[in-house]
Amino acid sequence: MKNRYLQAFQAYKELINSGGIQSSAEGENVFLHLRGNITGDILLFIVPKKKIAEDGIYIMELIRSDKTLEQERSVVIESFKQKFKGLSLLPESLVWVLGICFSILYTYWDFDNILTLFSGKWGVAGILSLLPLLLLSVITPLLGKYVGFNLLKPIFAIISSINRLLRLIRNRKVKDSQG
């Protein structure tokens, strides 16, 4: 578990510093660069080691003739997978915290009504206390397509705030040393 948190910390540190996570490998003829972000977008760049004219066919030949690439591929993919696993820890933790908050609030507000409802005594108060959740379950599939990406908004907001804070701290240091 400790290792997982360390992994998550390193992945987020990289995300904040460079705006994404990256893994690279070097074959005989080409470099492999995998770049990903928190939305799950992954870009794979294959770059020739020697500066050549921009000819796609020639790069393909370089890839075909590179004997070490298969081995490098497993290394780079494994490292990248670990970084992505680290990134998923924050949303998991957020939901865990949300779950606890929700439990506390719900128990505090409506537990009596819900108990009554489940014991078979139907009452307006019990139904009303279930209504928000019922409503949520009805609209979620309808909105799912549009919500999709917004699922990640809180995570982005946190990362963006940390990034801004770090920039402020970093800039202040530069200013002090100049002054």
Binding site: R35, G40, M60, F84, S88, P91, V95, G144
Partner: protein
Amino acid sequence: MSASKAPSGPRLLLHNLAGKYDQKLVSMGDKYRQYLGKSNQVNDENLFRGIRVNDGSGYESFKELSDRAKNAGLLLKASKERGIVHEGQIDADIMMLKRIETISNDVRRILIMDGVDPVKDDPVKKVTFNFDEKESIEKFRIMTSREADTYELNLDLRQLLVIKKANDIGTEKVVIQTVIGMDGDVTTRISKAFADQPVPFINAIHQDAIGISVEFWKTLINVVVKLGTHIIGLLNPKG
């Protein structure tokens, strides 16, 4: 591709992107000079990119890039029809020019939106700063974070990601691309050259990358499902 630290804000990302498009237009112009330079219709000086009016990364700069890419594309299409250049070679470059034109137009649409550009909306800043000029970008680059924030673009997440992705891909050739939608649609695009002569290694690593991305989303969805299960569990006193 060149590996470097990503620019820290939208303005600098845009400037980076404008630079990549500029360089690409220049290099493509150089590439086709031998075929098109002798034509009466074109001036072989700075072919495709033309004489630069805006060297920054504001609205007008992207308009210029978009116009130049559009004109260059038309020129290449005409050359293709006349059979001046080999078809296989020209198709990929026409696609690249189309990408430059489309993304530049997207950027322009974002920049013109109300509330996005604080310089556009402020009569004082408008006089002192013109992000269509390189000098303004250079001044902006060395500002303190606090000061730069007042000139920075106010983008929402979706707009920022459009710019980030455009900058990441830049002018690299895309040989294979898979897009998985939230509604389950999966679309894969493969370049003609790659489809004609596929490289197993690229297919394999592409599959690996898709696997990682899907796994990441699965984890995120599972997290939300867990929360839902937790809430439902609360409603069932026996559970």
